[in-house]
Symmetry: D2
Subunit: 353 residues, 4 copies
C-alpha cells in the first residue's frame, strides 16, 4: 500500500521538478536581459537592495511548510547562480581560469626557455646574493647542469628588522653579472612597487614573495611590466585566494604569471612548512597557469629536497625551485635548507636531468 | 530607457519568484507525505538512487540557459532542504540542540551542586594523582575556597608509552579518600569503556579526554551510566564535531553532558594550544549544554591562568578547570601549567570567588 | 649499597656542575670583551665561520660518552646564550619589549584621547566608507556614546580584483568631514607606502592591515610619520612575527604602535577566524605596547560581537574595534559581521560604556 | 689592534671550550654509572627533585655575567642530554626508530605478500561494506589487477550518531566471503579493544583509524595480536605523536605496524584534508616502519586520486590506499571520493601496475 502511494507521490514530485526547472530557466533568461541593460548603464550586476526586496516579498508570501529561513536560503542560491550566469556572459569568468582541457599558458623567456610547455625547469641558486665569488661558484655548477634561471635575491623579507636584509642593488648587479657570464636568466624578489623601475634593469623574471601575495598595489603594478612574474603562495593562503592574486596581475595586463607552491603553515614541527602537493593538480585543473614547487622553503630541511623534488615532478609541476650554496652552514640566511653543490648534483642525477 | 526596461523585467522576475515559491512548498508537502509512508515502512528518508534518477530527468529536460551543473547544484539544495524538513518532523533535530532561548541543561551533582544554572563552578586539582600527601594538601586548599569538584586523574593519556601513565585504581582510591575528607566530588578521565564498572565506585563525574572525543564506543557506553560526563573538545575538533560527540552520549540515554573547551591546535608557538573562546558563546547559542573552560591545557602556561580565567568568566562559561600542585616543578606531568597553591589563592581572589 | 654509591656519585656531579658553571661565566666574560672590540670595528657579533671552527675543534677532541652530535648541540646552546648576552649589552633587546612590570607605551592622540593608559577605547564605524549619509548616520551614533576614533576605510584589501575596492581619496574626504562634524578622529588602512603623503591630510591614525603585516617597506615608512599606527596581526602570524613587525616601525622612529588582534586562520568553520584571546595577556607580558581586539573580523558574525567584546575587556585589552553599519545586509563588504546601530547601542550598554 | 686582541681572546675561549667538553663527558660518565645503580634498584632515571636541587645549587653559586635563568636553561639542556644518554644505554631508544640506513621492517602477510620490501602494494575497496553484490563487483575488479588487500569496513566511525555506522559483523562476513572467492586479504577498522576476539576470525590486518590513533588501550591490545596493524595518522597529529602511537603497539609486542598517511587538518577548503607528503620521506628517515598513502581521504576528491597516487609512488611510499565503489553517487558514505571501477582501472594503468 505504502509502496504504491510512495510511487504515485513521486510522480507528482517529478512533474513539479520540471515545472521548477522551466521557471528557473525562464527567470535566468530575463535576468540575462537585465544584465545587458545594466552593462549599457555601467552598473554592477550585484544589487543587494534588490535582493533584500525580493527576499522580503518571498517571506511575505510564504505559507510553508518551508520556513522563511529555508526559503531565503534556497533563493539566495538561485540569486547566486543567476548572478554567476550574468557575470559569465559579461566577462567569461576569471582570466586565469582554465576554459578547456587544452587551455594553458606557456611563458617564453628572453632566451627562448619555456615554462608550462611540458618541460621541467629549474630555478636555483643561493637563498641570497652574498658575494660575487659565492654567486660565481654556484652559477658555474648550475650552468653545468643546464639550469636556465638563477635566484638573485638582493632584498630579503625578514621577520626581524635586525636580520640580514640583502645587499640591495649591489646584489642585483652581482647576480646580473654572473648570470651573463653563464648565459642564465635572473629572478629576484620585489618587495615594493617603487622598486620596479630600478629592478627592471637587472631581472628577467620578477618574483612576488609569500608575504606580498595579497599586496594588491604591487600585483597591479606588475600587471604592467613586460617581464613574467613568479607568484608565491601566501604563508597560509587558500588556493582560491592565490588564484585571485594571480588574477590581479593578469587583469592588469600581464598574462605571464607562474605560481610557486612553497608550503603552508600548519601545526607540524618537523618541517618548517607543510608542502601542499595537492595544490599542483588542483591549480592545473582550475587554471591554465604554470606552477612550480619550491622544495627548499616547503620543508626547510636539506634532507628532504631530493624526495620532495621527485614528488614535485610526479605531481605534474612545471619545475622546481631549490636553494644551493657553496657552504650552507655559514650562509647569511636559511642555512638549514640550502643544498651544497655536491648535493645539488645528486638531486639532478636522481631526477635524471 | 534601460531603466524602465529593467523595472519591467524585474516585475516579471518577482512573479516567477512567487511561482517557484509555491511549487517548492507544494513539493515539500508531498515529500513530507512520502516521509510518513517511509516511516511506516521503516526505510530511511535519504535515498541516493531516487536522487540520481531525479537529477538525470532534470538534465534530460534542461534547455538552458542554466548549465546542467548549475541545475543539479540548485536541485541538490532543494533536496537537502526537503530532507531536513522530513528529518525535523521525525526527530526534531539533535537532542543537544537548543530549541528556545530559555532551553538549558542544568546538571545536578550528588551534593546538590549545580552546573549550568548560572553559577560559576571550579574543577580543580593536580594534573594527576601522585601521592596521598599531594592530594591532601591540594584538597585542603581547594576546600578552603569552596571548590566542589576535584580532579582525581589516575589514567593519564600520554604521547609516549614510556611516560608516567597514572597510578591506576590506586590513584582513584586516594582521590576518593581525599575528596571524602573534604566533602568534595571526584572527576576522573576514563580511557576505555572496559573501565566503567570499576571507576563507577570512585567517581562522581566521568570525563572524556580530548583524544577520546570521537571514541563512539566509549561515548555510547557513557550514555548508559548514571553519572554526568565532562566531554573535552578534541585536539582539533570543529565545534560541529564536538556537538555531535555530545549527541552520541545524549542519544544513548545520558542527558547530563558538560562540555570543556581546552584549546585547539594551531601554528602559534608561545602557547601549547590556542584557547578558542568564541566556542563558549557559540555553544550557548547552538546547544543547551553547560560549558566550562580549561585554562591550564589551553595555554600550557602558568602565567596565563589568571587572565584566561577572567576571560572565561566574561565569556559566559559555566565554570573553570584549573590545575593546582603543591610543587609544580617536580610534578610528574604538565609541570609548566600547574599553579602553586598561593597562585591558586590569587586566582580565586582575582575572580572574586 | 647502590643507594650509598648513588649519593657519593651525585656529590661528584655537584662539584662538576659548579666547575662547568665557573667556566661558562668566565667564557661569557671574555665573549663580552670580544663584543666590545667588535662594536669598535663595526662587525656583527654573529660569525658563523668562527662557530664552525669551534665546533670542529670540539668534535676533534671529543672522546665521549657524549656523541659528537650531542656535544655540538650543547655548545650551540652555549653559543646562543653568549650571543644573546652580547646583543643585550649592545642593544638592550627589542625596543618594543617590556623591560619592567611598569613599562608601558601610552599613545596620546591629537584630541588628548589616550590608548594604553588603562582606559578602554573604541574604534568603530562601517567596514568601508560608502556614502556621506551612511557615514553621517553612523558618526552621530558613535559620537552619542563617546566613541573617539572612527573607521574611515577608503581602500579595501579584497581577495578578488573584481570586488569593491573602496572609494579612494573621495572616501577619505567624507570620513574627515564626518569626523570633524562630530569631533572624532579618523583611522584608515594604508596599503602602500606611496599613499603616505596624500593620506596624511586626512587620517589621525594609520592602520596596517593583516595582509600587510610583514610589508617591511611600508612598516619602515610608517616609522617616519608623526601619526600613531594600528598594526593588525597577520592572517596566520605568530605572536613573535607580530612583535618583530612592530619593531620594524619602532626601530624606524615611530614608537606609537598599537597592536590589533583580529583572529587567526584555523580549521574551524563556524567562525571566519579564531580569536586568539591569549594574545592579549601575552603581548602585555612581552611588550609595552597597547593592544586592542577587533571583534568583527575575529568572528565574522554579528551575533558574537557582544560576548567577544566582554571577553576582550576582561582580557585586559586597551580597547575594541567594531564595525557598525546603518543597514548591514546591503553593505558593500562584510555584511555578516557589521552591527546595526541598535545593536551597537546594545553593545555599549552591555559593556557599561 | 682590536683584531689582534680579538684573536687572543678567542684562543682563551678555545681553551675553555675544551675544558667544558672534558667536564661534560666526565659528568656523563658518572651519570651513566648512577644509571646502572638505579636500574639495579628499579627506579626511573628521571628525578625531578634531584634536578631541582642541582638547579638551586647552581643559582646560589652563580656570579654572572650569565643570568640565573640562562644558567638554568643551559643546565637543563645538559641534564636532558645526560638523561637521553642513560635511556639510550638502557633501552636503545624507541623500538620503531631507525638505527641504520638499512634497518627496515618488512611485514609478511599470510599469502606471502610483503609490505616494506620495496614493492608497491594496493589496499583498495569500497569505503564501507554495503551488500554482497557491491563487494563482489569491486572484488573482481581488484583481483583482475592483482590487488592483494581488500578494504572490508564494517564499523564506520561517523561524526553523527545518526549516520550509517556500518553493517557490523554481517559486513565482516561478506568481506571475508568475497576475499576468499578472489584470494585476497581483508583489512578492517577496529574501533574498540572489545572487538578483537570477534574480528580476529575475519580480518588479516587490523586497522586503527585516525580518530583512534591515540587510544592507548586499543593500541596496547593490538600489541598482543598476531595480525599486522595499519595505523592511520590522527586528524591533526604531529609526526612525533604518530611515531609514539606506533611505539605503543610495538612495545606491547607486535612489531608489524604499517603507517598510513591520510592528510591533516588545515584551513584549505578545496580539499577535505591536506596530504602531508613530506611525512613519507620523514617517516623513512626516522623509523624503519613501512608507510602507505591514503589518496582518498587525503583529498576527499575523486579527481585528485590519480595525481596523488603518482605523487605517493614518487615519494617512496610502500603502497597506496584507495576507495573504489560500483556506483559512488549512491554510496552510503564518502560518495565524493570513491573511484568508479573504470577510474580504478585508469589509476592502475597510469601507475603502470
Amino acid at each position: 500500500m505504502s509502496q504504491d502511494k510512495i510511487a504515485e507521490l513521486r510522480k507528482e514530485i517529478d512533474s513539479i521538478n520540471l515545472q521548477i526547472l522551466d521557471l528557473l530557466n525562464k527567470r535566468a533568461t530575463i535576468a540575462k536581459e537585465i544584465g545587458v541593460h545594466q552593462s549599457a548603464l555601467g552598473t554592477t550586476f550585484y544589487d543587494p537592495q534588490r535582493e533584500a526586496y525580493m527576499l522580503t516579498q518571498l517571506e511575505m508570501h510564504n505559507n510553508g511548510p518551508f520556513s522563511n529561513e529555508t526559503v531565503k536560503a534556497l533563493f539566495k542560491e538561485i540569486f547566486r547562480a543567476t548572478l554567476a550566469l550574468e557575470e559569465k556572459e559579461a566577462r567569461a569568468k576569471l582570466l586565469v581560469q582554465r576554459k578547456t582541457a587544452q587551455d594553458r599558458t606557456i611563458v617564453e623567456l628572453p632566451d627562448g626557455t619555456k615554462i608550462g610547455d611540458g618541460s621541467f625547469q629549474l630555478v636555483a641558486g643561493s637563498c641570497a646574493v652574498e658575494t660575487y665569488e659565492q654567486m660565481d661558484v654556484v652559477g658555474e655548477a648550475l650552468a653545468s647542469r643546464g639550469v636556465k634561471i638563477m635566484r638573485g635575491m638582493a632584498y630579503k623579507p625578514r621577520t626581524s628588522p635586525y636580520d640580514f636584509q640583502g645587499l640591495g642593488e649591489e646584489g642585483l648587479k652581482i647576480a646580473r653579472q654572473v648570470a651573463n657570464k653563464y648565459n642564465m636568466l635572473v629572478t629576484s624578489e620585489i618587495m615594493d612597487m617603487s622598486q620596479i623601475g630600478m629592478m627592471s634593469d637587472y631581472v628577467d623574471i620578477f618574483w612576488v614573495g609569500a608575504r606580498n601575495m595579497q599586496n594588491s598595489f604591487l600585483l597591479r603594478a606588475l600587471g604592467k611590466v613586460r617581464q613574467p612574474v613568479f607568484l608565491k603562495r601566501g604563508l597560509s593562503a587558500t588556493l582560491e585566494e592565490w588564484v585571485y592574486a594571480a588574477e590581479y596581475i593578469a587583469s592588469s595586463g600581464n598574462p605571464n604569471v607562474i605560481l610557486i607552491e612553497r608550503g603552508i603553515r600548519t601545526f607540524e614541527k618537523w618541517t618548517r612548512n607543510t608542502l601542499d602537493i595537492s595544490a599542483v593538480p588542483l591549480i592545473k585543473l582550475e587554471t591554465h597557469l604554470p606552477i612550480i614547487v619550491d622544495v627548499s622553503h616547503s620543508a626547510g630541511r636539506r634532507d628532504l629536497a631530493i624526495p620532495l623534488a621527485k614528488v614535485a615532478k610526479a605531481s605534474g609541476a612545471d619545475g622546481l625551485m631549490v636553494e644551493v650554496h657553496p657552504n650552507p652552514p655559514v650562509a647569511m640566511s636559511d642555512a638549514k635548507q640550502q643544498l651544497t653543490i655536491p648535493e645539488f648534483h645528486k638531486l639532478m642525477d636522481e631526477l635524471g636531468l
